[in-house]
Symmetry: C2
Subunit: 367 residues, 2 copies
C-alpha cells in the first residue's frame, strides 16, 4: 500500500500534521523555474501558499526574481528574512496603522504594491510622502476574475493619477482566478489575462506611462499565459500542489508535495470511519470539480464527507477496506493555502524520514 | 449608523482583526452560568471556541466546574495555565507521541478523556499503565449526530471493557451536532441527547458501572437538554455567539460578542465592494440557514458572496449604501470557532475602546 511521505508514520508523527516532501517540493520549484526561464518570463511566486522563509529562499535560488505576497504583514516577515524584492499583489489601503507600517517596509526593501482606486493611491501617496525610499505601484486590472481590479482600458487613467500624486507606476497586474474551473476555464482565463494586460499596457502608454511589468497570476494559468506581452508570472500553489490543482491540470493527486497525516480515531456510526483531521487542519474549501474535503492515499473508495472542527467523517463509497483505529492515513487537501495557514510548522520529510521542521513564518499575517 | 465595538475604528485598528466586546462576553458567561446553576446542572464549557486562558478563567470564576477541550494539545495549554479540571471530549487514541503526552498530562491535572472503541481503551490503558495519576474515562455515544460514539445501548459493554483494563469509567457523553439546523432540529436533538444518555446510563449500570456523569454538548441544545438525568452541559460557542447560532436561536446577529473588523479595499467589479477579510480570517464555514459568509453590521443589503484567501467579495442585494474605500466594517462570521483559530490574538474592547489584547493561547493545537 502507498504509505505517504514517511516509512513508519505511526511511530514518527503526532497527528494531525502537515508534512511536505522536500524532494518533491524542490522538483516543483526547479520545474517552474526552468519553464519560465526558457520562456524569458520573470517568475515571482506567490508566497501566501507556503509563508515560509526556507521555501521562499529556495524559490529565489532557483531563479525567482522576488516574491509576491498578499499583505503588508507577509511582506514584513519576508523582508525581515532578507528577501528583498517583494510585491504586495493586493489593493493596499495605507490608512490607520497600515500607513506607518507600509512606509517602514518600503524603506527596508524593494517594494511594489497593487492599487485599483484613486482612494488607495491617495492614501499611499500620503503615507510615503517624505519617505527615503518609496514603493512602486502596479495597477490591478480585472481580467475576468470579478474580484478586485479596474477594467483594463481604465488602467491608464489610474496610472496617470498615480503619477500626478508623485508615485512611480511600473506596470499592471491581474489574477485570472476564473481559471479554477477545469481545462477549458483555465485556457480561456489565460487568454483573458494576456489580452487584459495588453489592453491595460496600451492604456498606460497612452497616458505616457511605460508599462515595464505585465504580471499575470494563478497556478492554473501560469504556464499558459507565460508569453508576450506578459513579462511576469505569480503562481503560488504549484510549490506544493493540492487536490484541486491536480484536478484542474488532470494530474494524479498522489504527486502533491504536501499531505496531511491523520489518525483513524473511531469507526464512526456507519460503514466509514472518523479521523482526527477536521476543518481546523483541512480547512473547508470545496471545489466544484471534486466531492468532499480531500482524498486519502491508498483508500480510493474513501470520501471525506464532512469536516467539523476536529473530526473528519469519512464514508466508504463501495465498501472498500477500512483502516483499523490507530492507523495513520495521508490526505491530499482540496486547497493547500489555508491548510498551511492553520499550522505553526510543517514537518519536512525526505526519502521516508523526518529531516526537519520549518516554521510557517508568516502564518496568520492577514493584514 | 451602528459602529461596531470601537468608537473610532479607523484610527484604532489594523484590519483584519478579531475583536471581542468583553462586557458582552461576561454577560454571556454569567447568563449561562446562572442558567445551569438554577437547573442544578454542571457547566463545563468547551474551550475550543476561545482557546484562551483569560476567557477560561472567567468561565471557571462564573461557576464552571472545569473546561472541555478537543485535543491533548489544548489540554496541555490549559493545564499549564493552572486550569485543573479538563475533559478531552474526543476519542483519544494514545499511540505514538500521544502516549507519553497523555500520560504526562494526566499526572499534572485532573483529566477525563473520551473513548468510543476497544482499540482506544487498550491504547489508553497501555499509555498510563504505571502512571502516578490516571485519566478517567467517559464513554462517547452517538445520539444522532452520526459522527463519533457508540450506540447508547452498547456503552455498557465498552465501559465493562474499560474496567477490565483497569480504567475508571465515570459516565457517558454525547454531542447533539444534529441540532445545528433550526429550532425544530435543535429541540429534537436535545431530546435525543437526553434519551441517548439515559439509555447509555442504564447500560452502564447493567454492567455494574456507576454513571456519575451524563454529559451533553453543543450550544444549540445546551439549555434544552439541561434536565435530569443529564448532569453536565458542554456548550462552547455561546461565549462569543456567531451568525449561525443567532439564526438557530432566532436572536439578532448584532448581539454577538465577537466581530471581525475589516477594511473596504476596492469597489470591485460590480455594484458591490471588496474587503480585506477573506477565508484566512472569516474561514469558509457556510450554513444551510444563511446565505454567504457573514453579515456586515449596518449594511443589511450587503452579502459576502465569496471569500478567497485574502478577499471578501461583497454584493449589494438591493443596491443599498456602499461604504467608501477605506471604511472599517464589522462582520459577524458564520461560525466563530474557526475564526478564532486563525488569529494569534483577539483585540479586547470595552465601551468603545481597546482595553487589551489576549493571546489565543491554544491556537493551532490540533493534536
Amino acid at each position: 500500500m502507498t504509505r505517504g511521505f514517511l516509512d513508519d508514520a505511526t511511530a514518527a508523527i503526532d497527528t494531525p500534521a502537515v508534512v511536505i516532501d522536500i524532494d518533491r517540493v524542490m522538483a516543483r520549484i526547479e520545474k517552474m523555474g526552468a519553464f519560465m526561464r526558457t520562456r524569458g518570463i520573470a517568475l515571482r511566486p506567490h508566497a501566501k501558499t507556503h509563508k515560509s522563509l526556507e521555501i521562499g529562499r529556495r524559490q529565489i535560488a532557483a531563479g525567482a526574481i522576488g516574491l509576491t505576497v498578499a499583505t503588508i504583514g507577509e511582506a514584513e516577515v519576508f523582508a525581515a528574512g532578507d528577501i528583498d524584492d517583494l510585491f504586495i499583489a493586493f489593493p493596499v489601503i495605507a490608512v490607520g496603522p497600515k500607513a506607518g507600517r507600509l512606509r517602514a517596509l518600503a524603506e527596508r526593501c524593494s517594494l511594489s504594491v497593487g492599487a485599483d482606486s484613486v482612494e488607495g493611491l491617495e492614501a499611499l501617496s500620503a503615507a510615503v510622502r517624505d519617505a527615503a525610499r518609496r514603493p512602486r505601484v502596479v495597477i490591478e486590472i480585472d481580467s475576468g476574475g470579478a474580484r478586485t481590479g479596474v477594467r483594463p482600458e481604465r488602467a491608464g487613467a489610474l496610472a496617470r493619477r498615480a503619477s500626478d500624486l508623485g508615485l512611480e507606476v511600473i506596470g499592471v497586474f491581474t489574477h485570472g482566478g476564473h481559471g479554477y474551473g477545469g481545462s477549458d476555464a483555465r485556457a480561456s482565463a489565460a487568454i483573458d489575462e494576456i489580452e487584459g494586460l495588453a489592453t491595460a499596457a496600451d492604456s498606460l502608454r497612452a497616458e505616457g506611462v511605460d508599462p515595464r511589468v505585465l504580471s499575470a497570476g494563478s497556478t492554473p494559468t501560469a504556464t499558459l499565459s507565460a508569453q508576450a506581452p506578459v513579462t511576469e508570472e505569480r503562481p503560488g500553489t504549484y510549490v506544493y500542489g493540492d487536490r484541486q490543482q491536480a484536478a484542474i491540470a488532470d494530474e494524479p493527486f498522489e504527486d502533491a508535495a504536501l499531505m496531511v497525516a491523520a489518525t483513524v480515531v473511531s469507526s464512526g456510526s456507519g460503514a466509514g470511519f472518523v479521523i482526527d483531521a477536521g476543518a481546523k487542519v483541512l480547512a473547508k474549501d470545496v471545489s466544484s470539480l471534486l466531492p468532499g474535503h480531500g482524498s486519502i492515499l491508498g483508500y480510493p473508495d474513501a470520501a471525506i464527507d464532512r469536516v467539523n472542527d476536529h473530526h473528519g467523517v469519512v464514508s466508504l463509497v463501495d465498501g472498500g477496506p477500512r483502516p483499523p483505529i490507530g492507523t495513520v492515513v495521508w490526505i491530499m487537501p482540496n486547497h493547500v493555502c489555508p491548510v498551511v495557514n492553520l499550522v505553526d510548522e510543517v514537518v519536512v520529510a525526505s526519502q521516508g524520514r523526518v529531516v526537519d521542521r520549518w516554521p510557517v513564518d508568516a502564518r496568520g499575517r492577514n493584514g
